[in-house]
Amino acid sequence: MDVHAPEAWAIQKGSSNVIIGILDTGMEVTHSDFSGKIVGEYDFIHDDGNAFPDAGDRGPHGMGSAGIAAAKTNDGFGVPGMCGGDGSTPGCSVLSVKTIGEGSRWHNFMEWIGASTDAADGGTWAVANGAVVLNNSWCDDVENHALHEAFRNAFQVGTVVTAGMGNNQQNDEGAWDCNQSTSATAVVPAFYSDIVMAVGATDIQGRRVLRDNGFNWESGRGSHIAVVAPGVNHYSDALQNGFQAFGGTSAATPFVSGLAGLVYSEAQAKGLSFTARDNRQLISRTAKDIGDPGYDVETGWGLIRADSALKMLQPPNQVTFASAGTTTSGCSSLTAIQTWTFWSSFVVRNARRCEVRRNITFDVPYQSAPLMWGRAVTGGGVTPSNPNSEVAYTGVVDGSVTTTGATLKTFVYERGRWMVSTWGGGQLSLHK
C-alpha cells in the first residue's frame, strides 16, 4: 500500500514558492537530486552557514529525510521526492537546517535523541526564512519549553510541523530510545500534538510497523499520533551524490512533509488561503483509515493518501471558509477541576474546561455530507488539551456534519487559584 503519489503528481508537483525546512543532520547542497532546490542552509550545532553533515554513521540522515520529502522527481537521477517537481521544474524548495551533529546530544551519546534546543533555534530560523513546512525526523525524550514555543509560533504563522512517532528501539546501552509505546511516554516534538503533526510508520502491507510482523522496531503509538506513512523499504538520497536505504518513522515523516508541500502548492494555485491547520486537517481527513475503525492511537487517522488530499480540492468540490459568529450558550460540558499544562507560563494549574458549541447551517446544501473541520478565529476558544498555549481552535463535533449543517465546538478554561508545580522542576510549590 502506498500513498498514491503519482496520482497526486498528476494534479500538483510542487511549487518552488513552498519551502520545506529539514531539521536534521544537514545536507549536501551539491547533491544532484537537490540542484536548484536548496534555498538556504545553517548549521546550528557549530553556528555557521555551512550545514554539511558531520562525519558519522548518522550523517546521511538529513539527506534521507530531505530526499523523501523533496528530491527532484522525474529528473532521470536519484530518487523521487513527494514534492519534487517534474524534471524541468524543481518542486518545493528546501532549507537545510542542521540541528544534529557533533556537538549535539545525539552525537555525544551515539543515540538518536536529537538536540531540541538547536531545533528550536533552527525551526525559528527556517520559518523566518520562509519555511511553511518543518520536517522533524527525530525525537528527544527531554521536555523543552523553547522547542514548544518555537514550533507553536511556527504553527501559528502557517507552518506545518511534522515529527516522527519514534521507532521504539533500544539503544546501544539497552535503554529505550524515544520510547513512545504509550501516550504517557510520548516525547517531543511529536508530543506537541496540537501544533505538531506526529507521524507513525507502516510496512509494505499498510500495517503499523510491529515487531510481531518481523521488524526489529515498532512505530510509536499514543493519542498524539496524527497519521501514518510508509516507513520501510525506501531508498533515499545520501552523501557524496549517492543513495541509501532509509526507513523508520524518520522516513514516514517526510512523506507527510512533502505532501504538506504539495497541498500548500495546490492551495496556492487555487488561490486558497490555507493555514497550517487546514493543511493538516486535509491530509489527516483524507487518509485511508487502517487499523481500528476511525481514529486510533496506533495509526491516527490512517495512511496518508496524497491523491485523495489533492483531489479533494478539485472541482466539482468547492472549498468554503467561513466564520460562525458568536454563541450565547453556556458550557455544553464542563470538566471537573483538574491539572492542565499552561504553556504560555509553563506551569501546571488547576482548571475546569468548558466546551462551547454552536450549530451552523450551510447557505447552500451539499449533495453529501462534506468534509469539514474547524478553523481558528480571533475571539474563539483554544484547544482541548493545551488551555493557554494561545493556540486558537475550533473543532467539529463528531458525527454532527450533515448535508445542511454541523455543530462546532471550542474550549475555554476556568483557571483555579492553585498552581500545582513548575514544570520539570521537581519542586511542589503551592500558591494561593
Partner: protein
C-alpha cells in the same frame, strides 16, 4: 465566542442546459480552406464550462447539460473535427454566459457568438503539413489530442515563439489551468541553432496509451551518411538539418510496435502544391487512408497503433527513414533490430535497456517513471573515459557512451546489513555475470565490471543491463559496452 470552519464538498447544483449557437446544429458541409468539402459527420462541438480552462473534448454537446454552482460561467463552444485531430479547435469560439445565484442574474443565459467562429487562418493550416511528427495520447478519460508539432516547414525558426496550430500554446494554456490535459506530452523545440533542430520529448505520468507518427516529406531531402540522430543525457532528440525523418517507435515490455505505413503524393493528379495541399494532408492525417502518389514524389505517414504503457516500461526507439519508396520503407521497418526480445530478462531490465542499432544510430529510452514499485537505484553511475574515446565506435555511439554508458556502480549499504545481488544480463536476457550475491555490511562499495562474463570471457559490444536486488526491491541500470 467566535467559530471558524472550512467545508469542502460538492454543493447541490443547478442543472443548466446551454445550447450551442443555433447555426452550429446545421452541421453542414464545411470547407476548411475554401476549396475542399468534408462530410458533416466528422464535426462536433467541444464545450467548456468554465471559460476554456477545461474542455470537454470530443463531446457531442449540442444541447448538453452541465452542473452549475453559484457564480458566473462562460460556456465556450468550439468546433472540432475528429477527422483532423486538433486542427480546428483553436480557430474560433462561440460563448454562452451563464450566471447562477448571483445578484441580478439568476440562471440567466446570454449568448454571444464570436465573429471568428470556425474561421481557420491560412498560415496555421499551411504550417503543419510537410514533414512532421505527431503525438496523440489517451489518458483513459476519453480521447485527448495532446500535442502536434511540425518538424519542418517555413516557420521552423519561430516554432518556440509561435507553435503552429497543432501545437498551439493555447492548448498549453488550457492545460495549465484545467484538469483535462494538465499532463500532456510535450514535444517542443528547445534550440534553434542554424542547421539543427533540437526537440525535447517529455512523457508525463499517467498516460495509458500513446500513438505517435511522422509524416515524411522527401521533398526536403535527406543527407545520406549524416548522423541525423543523436541523443544526449537529458533525453533530447537531435535532428540534423531538420531533414531527417524521425519516427518514434513505441515499445512495451520488449515488444516492438510496428507502424502502419501510409503513402500519399503531392504530385498526384488533382493534388496541389505541398505548401498548400492542406486538404490532402488533413485527409491523410485524419483517415490514414493511402493516397495514390506519384512514384517520384512519395510521402509516408507512419501510424502507430495505440500502446498500453506501464510504469517503468515506456520508451522509444529512434529510426530514420527518408527518401525511400514505400517498398523500401516497408522493408526497412521489417528489419528493425530487436534489442531486447521477450526473454526471462526482468521487465525492469527490459525497460531500462537501451541499445545501439545495427544501422549505427544510437537510441535510448526515456527514464522510467517514478513509480513506487520502480524506485530508482542506490547506484551511482560514471563513465569510463576510454570507452568514450573509442575510435571504432560511430560518432553517435561514442556520444551515447560518453553521456550514458557506465562501467561501474556504487552501492551504499545502509545501517543494517543487507543481502545484495547485482547481476548483469545480456541484451538477449541471458545472465552474463553475477557481480555480487552476498550479505554486505554497511558501507559504501564500488563495483567495477571488467566486461567479462562469469566464465571469464570478454563480452561483445552491446548494451547490458545491470540488475540490483536488495531489500525486496529490484533496480536496473544499463551498461553500454563499446569495443
Amino acid at each position: 465566542m467566535s467559530f471558524g470552519y472550512a467545508v469542502i464538498g460538492q454543493r447541490v447544483p443547478h442543472t443548466v442546459t446551454a445550447s450551442a449557437p443555433s447555426y452550429v446544429s446545421i452541421k453542414a458541409t464545411y470547407s476548411l480552406d475554401g476549396s475542399a468539402s468534408y462530410p458533416s459527420n466528422g464535426w462536433q462541438w467541444d464545450r467548456s464550462d468554465n471559460g476554456g480552462s477545461s474542455w470537454y473534448l470530443w463531446e457531442s454537446a449540442q444541447n448538453s447539460s452541465f452542473i452549475a454552482y453559484a457564480g458566473n460561467y462562460y460556456v465556450d463552444w468550439r468546433l472540432s473535427a475528429s477527422r483532423i485531430a486538433d486542427a480546428a479547435k483553436d480557430t474560433g469560439y462561440a460563448q454562452t454566459h451563464v450566471c447562477v445565484e448571483t445578484s441580478g442574474c439568476d440562471l440567466a443565459l446570454s449568448t454571444a457568438v464570436a465573429a471568428s467562429l470556425i474561421q481557420p487562418t491560412d498560415d496555421s493550416m499551411v504550417e503543419h503539413y510537410g514533414s512532421g511528427a505527431w503525438l496523440v495520447g489517451d489518458r483513459g478519460m476519453g480521447q485527448e489530442v495532446i500535442q502536434l508539432y511540425s518538424l519542418t516547414g517555413a516557420h521552423r525558426d519561430t516554432l518556440t515563439q509561435k507553435p503552429n496550430f497543432l501545437g498551439s500554446d493555447i492548448r498549453g494554456a488550457q492545460a495549465a489551468g484545467g484538469s483535462g490535459i494538465s499532463s500532456r506530452v510535450l514535444y517542443e523545440r528547445t534550440s534553434s541553432a542554424p542547421g539543427w533542430a533540437v526537440y525535447k520529448l517529455t512523457l508525463p505520468r499517467g498516460w495509458n496509451t500513446l500513438r505517435a507518427g511522422v509524416a515524411l516529406d522527401p521533398d526536403l531531402g535527406a543527407r545520406a551518411g549524416d548522423d541525423q540522430l543523436q541523443v544526449d543525457s537529458t533525453g533530447l532528440v537531435i535532428v540534423k538539418d531538420e531533414t531527417a525523418v524521425v519516427a518514434y517507435l513505441l515499445r512495451h515490455a520488449g515488444k516492438q510496435i510496428r507502424p502502419v505505413i501510409r503513402q500519399f503524393s503531392n504530385g498526384a493528379p488533382g493534388r496541389q502544391d505541398p505548401a498548400s495541399d492542406v486538404s490532402a494532408a488533413a485527409e491523410l492525417l485524419s483517415t490514414h487512408d493511402a493516397v495514390t502518389g506519384h512514384p517520384d514524389d512519395v510521402r509516408f505517414l507512419l501510424a502507430f497503433p495505440s500502446v498500453e504503457f506501464a510504469a517503468g516500461s515506456r520508451g522509444f526507439e529512434l529510426i530514420t527513414l527518408s527518401g525511400k519508396t514505400e517498398q523500401e520503407v516497408r522493408a526497412l521497418i521489417g528489419k528493425l533490430p530487436r534489442y531486447v526480445p521477450d526473454t526471462d530478462v526482468p521487465e525492469e531490465a527490459d525497460a531500462a535497456a537501451s541499445g545501439v542499432a545495427s544501422s549505427g544510430y544510437a537510441m535510448r529510452l526515456l527514464p522510467p517513471a517514478e513509480h513506487p514499485s520502480a524506485r530508482p537505484l542506490p547506484i551511482s553511475a560514471s563513465v569510463m573515459a576510454n570507452d568514450a574515446q573509442s575510435t571504432s565506435a560511430p560518432a553517435a555511439v561514442r556520444e551515447l557512451v560518453r553521456k550514458h554508458g557506465i562501467t561501474s556502480v556504487g552501492i551504499t549499504v545502509p545501517e543494517q546489513q543487507n543481502a545484495i545481488t547485482v547481476r548483469i544480463f545480456a541484451p538477449n536476457g541471458r545472465l552474463v555475470r553475477t557481480l555480487v550475491q552476498e550479505v554486505m555490511q554497511p558501507g559504501n562499495y564500488r563495483l567495477d565490471w571488467d566486461k567479462r562474463n562469469d566464465a571469464g570471457a570478454e563480452v561483445s559490444a552491446g548494451v547490458y543491463v545491470v540488475v540490483m536486488e536488495a531489500g525486496g526491491q529490484r533496480f536496473t541500470r544499463r551498461f553500454v559496452v563499446v569495443r
